[in-house]
């Protein structure tokens, strides 16, 4: 770690640690959601930025994680960890089974395939009310209890969620820097040449899809224990779209970009809602502005600005 990153990191960590105690409760709540969305968005970012795959099915895995946690704890009385594990196992198995056939598609067709998955899952969450409670949902999900320390307030849960998010970011970073990451980017740039170098495209895409589903499920379980109540409204196609927005806005190839994207989709609608009915239009306009003006996302645009300023600085000096 260089001194420069260290000098950056320390103030960031201090702000991060103090934040939940100084902001109003509703903001602490939003910060918890930012952490949850970061986890879900990381998976989408890996697929979009490193494989060139648009995944519109993340709400499915988010829902599976949430329902698994709700069902295991409320209906079966199992400890919370069971919900996390069951959700992850089901999500990964489903991603593998669905991924093998649909990841043969590319581009728009693949995006539509994942959208279909999200639509079907959303309908099933509604129809299978014996399992999910339908629109009535499942309530009374217990708060997490970490070795006797009850995470019952947003300011407490915040730390847990963000530690999970940081761990996921580290895992995603490992993947990007690894041999698999190298092969993923090769495949994204030219699948023809990647095949000639013995890279098994199908297997690799499926594995990343499974990792994406794991992140989605984990985020869903975190959400269930935060909200205490889950119902079908939280896992619709709309939610899949807002998950996709996270890497699109923040910058799909950048891991900090995912946090920026998650902040954008959690905070901006909330802040704009103070302006009255017009807020949805404004959010839409902000989205269009980012996508049109900053095709590499906010983090990409920031990096570009910095190189431009550096160039100008050196030009004058």
């Amino acid at each position: 770690m260089t001194l420069r990153t260290f000098l950056w990191l320390v103030p960031c960590l201090i702000v991060w640690a103090v934040l939940p105690f100084v902001v109003p409760r509703y903001m602490a709540d939003l910060l918890v959601f930012t952490g949850i969305y970061t986890v879900a968005g990381l998976g989408i970012g890996l697929l979009l930025g490193h494989c060139g795959i648009v995944n519109l099915a993340q709400a499915t895995f988010y829902g599976l994680g949430a329902y698994a946690s709700a069902y295991c704890t409320v209906m079966m009385g199992l400890p919370s960890i069971a919900g996390f594990l069951v959700g992850a196992a089901i999500s990964m198995a489903l991603a593998y089974i669905i991924g093998r056939p649909i990841l043969r598609l590319t581009g728009y067709f693949l995006a539509l395939g994942t959208l279909a998955l999200s639509a079907i899952a959303s309908a099933l969450f509604f129809e299978w009310d014996w399992l999910t409670g339908g629109t009535l949902g499942i309530g009374g999900i217990p708060k997490l209890n970490l070795f006797g320390f009850l995470l019952d307030r947003p300011s407490r849960y915040y730390f847990f969620v963000w530690l999970v998010a940081f761990a996921c970011m580290a895992v995603a970073r490992n993947l990007v820097d690894s041999r698999s990451g190298l092969m993923l980017r090769a495949m994204r740039d030219s699948s023809t040449a990647a095949a000639a170098l013995s890279i098994d495209l199908q297997a690799l895409r499926t594995k990343v899809f499974v990792v994406c589903a794991l992140f989605g499920s984990l985020a869903g379980s975190l959400f269930a224990h935060h909200a205490s109540f889950v119902s079908t409204q939280s896992f619709t196609v709309d939610r899949s779209i807002s998950f996709l927005l996270i890497p699109v806005i923040g910058g799909a190839t950048s891991i900090p970009g995912i946090v920026v994207g998650a902040l954008f989709v959690t905070f901006l609608p909330e802040l704009l809602s103070k302006l009255g009915d017009i807020h949805q239009i404004l959010f839409g306009l902000a989205l269009v502005a980012v996508v049109v003006l900053m095709p590499e996302g906010l983090v990409g645009a920031f990096a570009k600005l910095r190189t431009r300023l550096a160039k100008r600085g050196s030009g004058h000096g």
């Binding site: 895992v171 490992n174 820097d177 041999r179 190298l182 980017r185 090769a186 740039d189 000639a196 098994d200």
Partner: protein, 252 residues
């Protein structure tokens, strides 16, 4: 005579009723450089695509290292040491030159996705090995100065050399080069010729497709393909003397 590394027998193929290859038969002996020439549209690239598994031929058999390459995938053929370059260089545009070469070494090591996610010591060790090999290859192919540039910024000639470096670094047994000298300047072609000869001396067998008659002189045997048929075989001097070749290809 020893068994050839690659043996093509009666290969035939057609696209929508248009016959592009007709009973093409020749051998590529181990350790040699074999050339394939022919005017545009004579079927050279189709033959490459068939050998490397991009196209399944409608007729004929390919034997590689004594075994028939039936339905083996592109990747399986690659793992057996069959590596190709492309007529239009296919570099990984958004990756750096070094990273491009590193991709060529990925098949020499094995890590699982889980090891990579957790960045285990084994995964990091393999990554170091990949990087070391790629750096050595960059040095060898005069790419060290371009190492950290994105491949998208390279000239056509540099892309071709990068593609060859990336193919050569993966320890191929049979390297198939499709028009490796097109787009290169005189100096680059000289370097290319040296590299190909050196790779061949190191034991890599080479199948070379080119229009460049100068480059073809390094091939021990040259086969001339004309409208899907082999019309002449021999060393370059014999090919240049062959009346049919002179008529259909050299235009004299």
């Amino acid at each position: 005579m020893a068994e050839p590394l690659l043996a093509l027998r009666e290969i035939g193929h057609s696209f929508g009723g248009l016959s592009v290859l007709r009973s093409v038969t020749f051998d590529v002996p181990e350790g040699g450089i074999v050339g394939l020439i022919g005017p545009n549209g004579s079927g050279k690239t189709t033959l490459f695509n068939i050998v490397t598994g991009y196209i399944t031929p409608l007729a004929g058999t390919i034997t590689y290292r004594g075994a028939v390459l039936g339905r083996d995938s592109i990747q399986q053929r690659g793992l057996q040491g069959l590596v190709r370059t492309f007529q239009t260089p296919q570099v990984f545009e958004q990756m750096t030159v070094l990273e491009n070469v590193m991709v060529g070494c990925t098949k020499l090591t094995r890590t699982t996705m889980l090891q990579d996610l957790l960045s285990t010591p084994a995964a990091r060790g393999q990554m170091r090995e990949i990087r070391d090999r790629a750096e050595a290859a960059c040095e060898r192919f005069n790419l060290t100065g371009l190492r950290d540039l994105p491949a998208a910024s390279l000239t056509a000639g540099q892309r071709r050399i990068l593609e060859i470096a990336r193919a050569a670094v993966g320890e191929p047994r049979l390297l198939l080069l499709d028009e490796p000298s097109s787009g290169l300047n005189v100096q680059e072609i000289d370097d290319l010729r040296d590299w190909i000869v050196r790779l061949s001396e190191e034991g890599i067998t080479i199948l070379l497709v080119s229009h460049d008659m100068g480059l073809m002189t390094i091939a021990r045997t040259v086969h001339t393909l004309y409208f899907g048929e082999i019309i002449a075989s021999g060393d370059m001097a014999a090919i240049q003397r062959d009346p049919r070749v002179r008529e259909v290809y050299l235009g004299v």
